[in-house]
Amino acid sequence: MSSLVIQDLHVAIGEKEIVKGLSLTINSGEVHAIMGPNGTGKSTLSKAIAGHPDYTITSGDVLLDGASILEKEADERARAGLFLAFQYPSEIPGVSIANFLRAAVQARMAEGEELDATAYYKRLYAKMDMLKIDRKFTSRSVNEGFSGGEKKRCEILQMAMLEPKFALMDETDSGLDIDALRIVSEGVNTLRGPDLGVLMITHYQRLLNYIVPDYVHVMWDGRIVKSGDKSLALELEAKGYDWVKKELALA
């Protein structure tokens, strides 16, 4: 059982504060959704937790299994069990998905330890079968010339292979048509289980029709302003973000 604890987190890009005191605890096996309008700091939150150098954490803390990760480099955080599914994954020309994942798996091994290539491919193919991904897929260069759906599928495959403790999914649904959305959601649902905690960031409620969250949080102006179960998402869909805004104004 693992936990990811975000404590009164403040994040700035340059001088501008974007996340303004956000607290949230995610345990293994839980799926949390953060919803909110554009520009409210959702993506900033996920990138800051992952350790992107452009985002400065000005105060607060992030604890993975009780230990702060803020002094760690992005790659150390990744190896400790954090995975960020990118909204816009980078292209890596000339590097096949298979070789990229292999390097990532190798990076998790102790120094001097050798990766068993045959065992690696067996595991890769098993994951691809599970996610119903064609074998040819992994010989393509990472994200190069991929459609929006293929990019997301590539993210899901990486997540399956790297078996993180916590996955931060940044606008996984953006740019997807309904078929792609279904495929990606099936992937996440397949990976969902007692050993994985998920933080899903989304603008729209429609993703939550496919991946049903345990908790829903509404983010507004750098903070979580409302939390509830999946019914909160439906309420939000029906009433719109203005409803939250009005509630906030009243409070």
Partner: protein
């Protein structure tokens, strides 16, 4: 699941076996006592000394002395290349150092201090595994030279240039200095004056050498100049692959490596010449490489330049016979404090000749890479084709890259295509890879390997693995 198992095994085998590769760098040196030493500085006596210890025929001494005069009369090519050339102090260089004149035919006979250098570089092991023959040059002379029986029985000659001149003078003289004349450039003239070592290869008509021949050039001494001279002749219909590796320990003073390599591919012959150099960053690497391809012959240069302080090298092919083909595949990596000035020359001199140049350069930190190319197709020819591609990858904003393609095509019956691109490894790409658990150095290394992947695939596997290892080492070291 049997199917998956087989597929998994196949996929694993197709990969580069990156894990478990020896991480030994070339940066080490052993104290060696030299029996032959031409002293420091360059004059006629130096040249006479070299010629006399080699017991050369009079025409060779004459050739050398003429070359020395030529070298002295030519200006440094600083006007178009780099002022850094002015920092070479020819009076402080040692031009000839060796322990003996005759290379050994077995590793057991090689003196221990030299043998352990090559063992540490893995040469005897590679020889056993996949090479048809090896020549290992230590400073001025080959310490070891051997060719597998099966290859020598086919009539293939693979010796060092000193032996070649002595034992095969008629063959040697016919082609020596014909592809690259002494006065081709200042450093070709210097090499012609003081050359020592390098390979002499002759492949008889129709013989196809199945495994590569390899030469390894090792500089061990400080303030030293290595001037090997290689001549490869592939007779009609013959085929040969030659690979060279180069290393030197890192000294605080500058070291000079100035080779001349001449290739002759007679009718229908194929020569593939592969270089993976990893010079320490105090080495001036100023090399002239050119081949002549006769009718329907093919010459392919695969040239990987890593390390050195300054490399100036533009492998060329003179396409002399109808339907001759020339190719240069070039990879250059310029790290901090390094300048890779590399490229290719394609001189079309017959109808229906084709040439292909693919040059990829990587500039890291303050590193600077330059592509310089010449493609020449005169007016009277028809049906000639050239394709030139130059791609540059920049890692961080301080690095510099320049492209100087000089393409001269006259007449309207020829076809030329040129493409160039510059791309950057950006912060987002590195962050993406780091988020998957790779360190910054591993991420940059992977980006660089991806950039050259399509070229590296054309190498024999052992060399693409070596190349990847060298890139990994360079990129690990470049992370601030």
């Amino acid at each position: 699941m049997a199917n998956t198992d087989t597929l998994a095994q196949e996929a694993a085998a197709a990969d580069n076996p990156v894990a478990g590769i020896d991480q030994t760098k070339g940066d080490f040196s052993y104290d060696v006592s030299y029996a032959f030493d031409a002293g420091t500085g360059l004059n006629e006596d130096t040249v006479r000394y070299i010629s006399s210890v080699k017991k050369e025929a009079p025409w060779i001494l004459e050739f050398r002395l003429k070359a020395l005069a030529k070298f002295r009369s030519m200006p440094m090519p600083t006007h178009w290349a780099t002022k850094d050339l002015e920092n070479i102090d020819f009076d402080k260089i040692r031009y000839y150092l060796s322990q003996g004149q005759k290379p050994k035919r077995t590793w057991d006979e090689v003196p221990d201090d030299i043998k352990k250098t090559f063992e540490r570089l893995g040469i005897p092991e590679q020889e056993r595994k996949f090479l048809a023959g090896v020549e290992a040059q230590f400073d001025s002379e080959a310490a070891y030279s051997n060719i597998k029986d099966i290859v020598s029985k086919q009539g293939v000659i693979f010796v060092n240039s000193t032996e070649g001149l002595r034992e095969h003078p008629e063959l040697f003289k016919k082609f020596f200095g014909k592809v690259i004349p002494t006065g081709d450039n200042k450093f070709a003239a210097l090499n012609s004056a003081v050359f020592s070592g390098g390979s002499f290869i002759y492949v008889p008509k129709g013989v196809k050498v199945a495994q590569p021949l390899q030469a390894y050039f090792r500089i061990n001494a400080e303030n030293f100049g290595q001037f090997e001279r290689t001549l490869i002749i592939a007779d009609e219909g013959a085929e040969v692959t030659y690979m060279e590796g180069c290393t030197a320990p890192k000294f605080s003073t500058s070291t000079l490596h100035s080779a001349v390599v001449e290739l002759v591919a007679l009718k229908g012959a194929k020569i593939q010449y592969i270089t993976v150099q990893n010079w320490a960053n105090n080495v001036f690497n100023l090399v002239t490489k050119r081949g002549i391809a006769h009718e329907e012959a093919e010459i392919k240069w695969i040239d990987c330049n890593i390390g050195s302080r300054l490399t100036m090298k533009y492998p060329g092919v003179v396409l002399k016979g109808r339907k001759a083909r020339g190719e240069v595949i070039s990879i250059a990596l310029a790290n901090d404090g390094q300048h890779q000035d590399t490229g290719a020359k394609m001189i079309h001199a017959a109808d229906e000749t084709t040439s292909n140049i693919v040059a990829k350069s990587i500039s890291v930190g303050q590193g600077r890479s330059t592509y310089r190319g010449v493609v020449h197709i005169p007016k009277h020819l028809k049906g000639c084709k050239n394709n030139t591609e130059c791609d540059a990858l920049l890692i961080n904003t301080n690095s510099r890259t320049d492209t100087y393609p000089a393409i001269t095509v006259r007449g309207d019956r020829n076809y030329v295509q040129h493409e160039a691109s510059v791309s950057k490894v950006n912060e987002e790409m590195i962050f993406y890879m780091q988020q998957r658990g790779l360190t910054e150095g591993q991420a940059m290394s992977l980006a660089v390997n991806g950039f050259i992947n399509d070229l590296a695939r054309q190498f024999p596997m052992e060399y693409s693995v070596e190349l990847k290892r060298l890139i990994d080492l360079e990129m690990e070291g470049s992370v601030g």
